[in-house]
Symmetry: C2
Subunit: 432 residues, 2 copies
């Protein structure tokens, strides 16, 4: 007997049906915003991640050398791949480019609640617009995706920040700071002790007093005070941009789901502007459910023309936790419209009946195991068949079938030629 790998999951039909409902909903929301599906490879050259995604992700890559000597990695995230795709066809693609896809990614890290070595995300990105409307459309997509799943404004919030406010403030505090390292420290601040956080800021080049100052600055909602503190165009422009994004989010009807939260930094190095993370408002799930943000420099760093970009990537596993916590996780069960039950030598009529019902779009099962009446009825029950069509030798001799409602147990005899007849979805009630 072979075992499943640690951090990998098998999804059996009950659970998969709920996951499919979740994926369909996330994708349907994206389609309605005019995002278009793309398909992307599982493997990329390792150097693409080594060059671009920052240390943290590279340590966790599944990497290997293929039989042709190529250094490969299983994709740990989508962004570098879609950036590569934009560069490859930058002349042909009409902007804004609006793409989505749902697929697995892989990171070698310790599995924990809601986090696996193989994990699925729906990535949603806009390339080619630097306008605040693009950031706001990503926020609006993400908010609609959540409410379309049955969540309300009480149950989640998007904590919104801006990389240039963070970076500009850090530089204003100490011009010698390693901004990337300091931002990674801020990103971790909620998950670690204050002392450890301040140690990380210190390693990034700040004194412990300056670390305290950063703490105080990031704790404010008063953006104009930050502009004043920094006194730089960089922070002033970033504050203005963040305010414009929030104003657009207001017009887009999703301002109510957002909270200003400058401690929100996102771990990846390539973010440049607005960043945000989705949190469980009740605090029961302490980690971010998912996040997103603007990454205006990535396409150019991949050798493309300067192309601003912004995106979000709901992860199925953490999102599932939130939906279960909020009691709106889709039902885990199988549904079947018809079971066609064969008694005696009736396979031809049973098969034709099943065929007719399937042609009308219904989910139909029939016996493929040469089972008894009782065993078939039990199976029909196990798959939650709504209606069982009993095709019995004796009934057939009278030119009849029996239609059985599986909830009430009521049944009725029907002439063979009347079923399904011209009915789209014939049920017991149509003949009783």
């Amino acid at each position: 007997m072979y075992d499943r790998l640690k951090g990998f999951r098998d999804f059996y039909p009950d659970e998969m049906s709920a996951r499919r409902a979740l994926i369909d909903s996330l994708e349907d929301t994206a389609r309605r915003y005019g995002f278009r599906e793309v398909g992307t490879p599982a493997l990329e050259r390792t150097e693409m991640y080594v060059d671009k995604s920052g240390e943290e992700i590279v340590e966790e890559l599944y990497t290997f050398t293929d039989k042709g000597g190529r250094e490969l990695a299983l994709a740990p995230e989508l962004t570098p791949t879609v950036a590569r795709m934009v560069v490859a066809k930058q002349q042909e693609l009409a902007k804004p480019i609006k793409w989505f896809s749902t697929r697995p990614f892989w990171r070698y890290e310790e599995p924990q609640q809601g986090r696996f070595r193989e994990f699925y995300q729906t990535n949603v990105d806009i390339f080619g617009s630097a306008e605040p409307e693009a950031d706001a459309e990503i926020l609006a997509y993400a908010a609609d995706a959540m409410t379309d799943l049955g969540l309300s404004a009480d149950e989640f919030e998007f904590r919104v920040s801006h990389r240039d406010i963070l970076g500009g403030l850090l530089e204003a505090v100490d011009s010698a700071v390693d901004v990337r390292a300091a931002i990674r420290a801020v990103d971790k601040s909620a998950k670690i002790e204050t002392a450890e956080y301040h140690d990380l800021l210190h390693e990034a080049g700040l004194t412990y007093d300056e670390a305290e100052t950063v703490d105080d600055l990031l704790d404010t909602d008063d953006l104009s005070a930050l502009t004043d503190f920094a006194g730089t165009d960089r922070v002033a422009n970033a504050v203005e941009n963040l305010q414009a994004v929030l104003a657009a989010a207001e017009d887009y009807g999703v301002r109510e789901y957002t909270t200003l939260s400058l401690e929100t930094a996102r771990g990846l190095d390539y973010y440049t502007g607005v960043v945000f993370e989705c949190f469980d408002s009740t605090g029961e799930i302490s980690r971010a459910v998912f996040g997103g943000g603007r990454y205006d420099d990535l396409i150019e760093s991949f050798g493309g023309q300067p192309t601003p970009a912004v995106g979000v990537a709901p992860g199925l596993a953490p999102l599932s936790l939130l939906l279960q916590r909020a009691d709106v996780w889709p039902e885990e069960s199988l549904s079947t419209d018809y079971y066609v039950l064969q008694v005696g030598d009736t396979r031809d009529v049973a098969a034709a009946t099943a065929r007719d019902l399937r042609a009308r779009g219904h989910v139909v099962e029939t016996d493929v195991s040469d089972r008894s009446f009782g065993a078939q009825l039990e199976y029909a029950d196990a798959i939650n068949a709504e209606t069982t069509v009993i095709v019995g030798e004796r009934d057939l001799a009278n030119g009849e079938l029996t239609i059985k409602d599986m909830v009430s147990g009521d049944q009725v005899a029907v002439p063979v030629e009347d079923f399904p007849g011209d009915r789209e979805a014939p049920r017991y009630e149509d003949f009783a």
Copy 2:
């Protein structure tokens, strides 16, 4: 600039929309037969394939050692994974177990037309029935999947064979033959020269005269002659089973798509009974489009209770070739229901209009790039918007929007409060 890996593909939205239509159709047909979706990992332990899938596949695996020292492989096919899953929950799962899934697989082989290193299949399997109805249901699913895609009986055929007829005949010809090696030779016979094929049979233990005899035997449609030639229960039972499967296929309405073809062997070692391959009837595509068959011993060899199984796995790339050849490949294009065009400071009304239309399920885009009237109209055209809703400052001052039919170019002014109003899909005609 980073390059895509050889044998891997990026799917941009036009092509992806056609692929999505293909996948949706393959899966919808499976759902109507009562197959249930499962989700499976990309990685498995290498030994699972080394032990079970035969030499041919192992040579082509993407394998590596993970950071925990595990020998892993990217899945080259689904069957071993679902067999593992059946064994893991064999007590709980109600039989027959009917599963489907669509996902990528990976093999390190030379890319050629319709064959890639990363390739997608929709796998459809039944576990727990040894009856001919199960084989026939797989054939019926496969035939319906093809006709649901727009193909007709003139355009494809399922060449059906039986592993035990093949094996039994080979043993009857020469009891010392290496049956597996000889079956692999038969599987290759259509793709190689006769002399090379006979060399392979010779390597499997036959004389060249016996190889000629095998050729003659496999060329017949007269199954009873084969039973007589072999004179063994094995062949007699296999012939009876194959005839029972074809009779069930007749009842299931799909006999017309099948052809008896004993040269069809399938390459993988684990097949045990009926096997079949789908071919382009015109012969333009010479290789098999996809295949399937019965593998009754695999679950037990994985440490499970004896569990008969049969399945099929249409591959998207070869199937795409067939659909393109038959001119029924889904259209490669984007569709958009509405573009909401902003002129001047009208973002709030435009956003509310887009929101209302999306809430009705429509695909709606609006400006996120601060573009001119002309640039927006051009973009609306590029995304094939059916209707453009023009939200202009001057119109709005009169309490009006303009609804423009993008095909005719006709437009009409409409009071803001009437659009969309209580209409589900308001168009120009509703107001003209």
